[in-house]
């Protein structure tokens, strides 16, 4: 089979851009699941809430969706801390996090999705911004701005987060939690407070990720599910706790999905990401970057 080279190059580049966006979507789960060992399968529901927040404010105040994503981040941070409190008091404190804890987040995912259906219905919603539509063209290359801008900002934001994790006291404390709980107590920090803040950050990232999502494609409540497999695959494949590993995994998944969609049709794309997840799980826990 002769593969059209132009098509292939464009598919790879689109995949790179998609990967940058996937990194924004997966950073939250890398913090909560990878670092804190909390399997928040409800993360996609929070991301969709981010999308709908961007939609509401964009429609009423005509603000830029990415700006909305940034502004709403503290709100999601507080929401995340509240969810952690509930989780901590109900499960983690008793040391019983297994089936019940998982069922809790599964319930949360479902309640989040159904609530959005009740409020917004099942129609696709989208936002308006000047960069949705136009593309940069370099010869045969076609770079849609609605992909390029989220990708660039996503990588910048993750860079900032990495800087925060390795240079601030709170950030280093979070990394200490992810490696070894007891060591943290030697630092005279309260692990529960640290984990609460870290979980808050993991949910806070869904504000911006949600805004990116609704810029890239129109959104309806049930599309969140497609992201469960993606984000866990990326987190596991990226080595659980490493942000650079997570970015590499995101880009690989983005490129593979993009090539599949280009050459075999988009209806096969979910099989790719979830097939990826199964492979990633089989490799666990070393991931790409290893530990």
């Amino acid at each position: 089979m002769a593969i059209d080279l132009n098509l292939l190059i464009n598919a790879v580049v689109a995949g790179l851009l998609l990967g940058g966006f996937y990194a924004a979507v997966s950073v939250g789960i890398t913090i909560s699941f990878g670092m804190l060992d909390i399997a928040n399968i409800a993360q996609p529901a929070f991301i969709l809430m981010g999308s709908y927040a961007a939609y509401l404010i964009n429609r009423s105040l005509h603000l830029d969706p990415i700006l909305i994503g940034v502004v709403m981040t503290p709100v999601f941070y507080v929401l995340g801390m509240a969810v952690y409190r509930l989780y901590y008091h109900s499960f983690e404190r008793h040391g019983d996090q297994s089936i019940q804890g998982l069922a809790f987040f599964f319930g949360l995912l479902f309640v989040g999705e159904v609530s959005l259906v009740l409020i917004f219905g099942v129609d696709y919603r989208f936002v308006e911004a000047s960069y949705i539509g136009p593309s940069l063209k370099f010869g045969i290359l076609d770079l849609p701005l609605r992909m390029l801008i989220p990708c660039v900002i996503s990588l910048l934001a993750i860079g900032l987060l990495q800087f925060f994790l390795s240079h601030s006291f709170l950030g280093r404390a979070i990394l200490a939690v992810s490696q070894d709980g007891p060591a943290l107590q030697l630092m005279a920090a309260n692990p529960t407070r640290i984990k609460q803040a870290a979980f808050g950050i993991s949910i806070a990232t869904s504000s911006l990720a949600g805004a990116f999502l609704i810029i890239i494609q129109p959104v309806e409540p049930s599309i969140g599910r497609d992201y469960i497999g993606r984000i866990f695959a990326i987190c596991v494949l990226g080595g659980m706790t490493s942000l650079p590993g997570m970015i590499v995994a995101s880009i690989i998944l983005g490129v593979v999905e993009s090539i599949t969609a280009t050459f075999y049709g988009p209806s096969w794309a979910p099989a790719v990401s979830f097939g990826f997840l199964l492979v990633a799980l089989a490799w666990r826990p070393a991931g790409l970057m290893g530990r």
Binding site: F91, Q100, L102, F110, V111, V117, D226, S267, L281, R284
Partner: protein
């Protein structure tokens, strides 16, 4: 109660229930509604054999269920066999898939297993969406036979089959619970390493558990095409089945056969009522909230609450 006595009683009460309902209820709607509740008894009992007894959370109920349904579609379009045979075939197919997920337990536990089942469900859905013979993403229309092989309408026939399946499922669950197999399952649930050290062949038992669990779900799904008459991937693989299959045992209580039954009757009935009186989206919200509420407040479900009340009353 001796197990044989229980089976006898279960069969008798099943027949009695069937006779009473068929004699007293003429309105077709009630059979439609009762069918769904019975179907959930089978699904949640099947889920609980793996989730409650053996300790592995399956989020892919929808896939096992839908594969049973699609097996019937294939049979319907190729050979003409009676519905009970289709149920057996659906059970075998989903049982084989269950056996496959059983091998996943070699490497994956807890959260990782749960996520893998979710992933498996979506891969299966993708395969069905891309399979034109069974309708692909457009779905497929199935014409319900005009007459049933037994007295009464076709929906009454479906209802009768599902009632029989529900009685069998609950009987199997209870038999396991009281048997040495159930003891081994419980040991695996509590600590797999300690179970191995105690001589429990954990892999073989887990394979039995996943296969049986999957087979029951597949059998529950097999009559679905004739029930809905229009089958499409989105609704048959719906996450609602997975949530219900988790929520019903959690709400009822996961360590006993009666838990999923109580949970299914309660949540199933609430949803049927809510669908008629309010809206179908809202009834799903209720299920989600009840699931969250119960895992927080009463992690051992209604059965757990009753047991602890009884224990307290005895202590007084």
């Amino acid at each position: 109660m001796r197990n044989s006595v229980f089976w006898l009683l279960a069969a008798l009460s099943g027949v009695a229930f069937l006779a009473v309902t068929r004699a007293l209820i003429a309105n077709e709607y009630y059979y439609f509604a009762a069918y769904v509740v019975l179907q959930y008894i089978v699904l949640s009992t099947g889920w609980n054999i793996l989730g409650g007894y053996t300790g592995y959370t399956n989020f892919g109920t929808g896939a096992f269920f839908a594969l049973g349904a699609y097996a019937s579609v294939v049979l319907h379009k190729t050979v003409s066999v009676p519905l009970p045979v289709m149920m057996l075939v659906g059970g075998i197919i989903s049982g084989v898939i269950g056996l496959g997920t059983g091998y996943l337990t070699l490497r994956l536990r807890g959260v990782f297993f749960a996520i893998a089942t979710l992933a498996m469900a979506i891969v299966m859905q993708t395969l069905i969406v891309n399979w034109d013979f069974v309708g692909g993403s457009r779905g497929v229309y199935i014409i319900r036979p005009a007459s049933a092989p037994i007295a009464g309408s076709y929906i009454q026939y479906l209802y009768t089959l599902m009632l029989v399946l529900a009685v069998i499922s609950v009987g199997i669950a209870r038999t396991i619970e009281r048997s040495r197999l159930g003891l081994g399952f419980a040991a695996i649930r509590d600590d797999e390493q300690a179970a191995e050290a105690g001589g429990v062949p954990t892999l073989r038992l887990k394979l039995i558990s996943t296969t049986l669990s999957g087979a029951l779900m597949g059998m529950a799904g097999a009559p679905l095409p004739y029930y809905v008459t229009y089958l499409d991937p989105d609704s048959s693989f719906s996450l609602a089945y997975a949530v219900n299959a988790v929520a019903m045992p959690v709400v009822g209580g996961m360590t006993s056969w009666i838990g999923p039954v109580v949970g299914s009757i309660l949540l199933g009935t609430i949803q049927q009522l809510a669908t008629v009186t309010i809206s179908s989206a809202l009834n799903l919200l209720i299920v989600g909230l009840l699931l969250i509420g119960f895992v927080i407040i009463a992690p051992n479900g209604i059965v757990g609450l009753v047991l602890s009340w009884r224990r307290r009353a005895r202590a007084r």
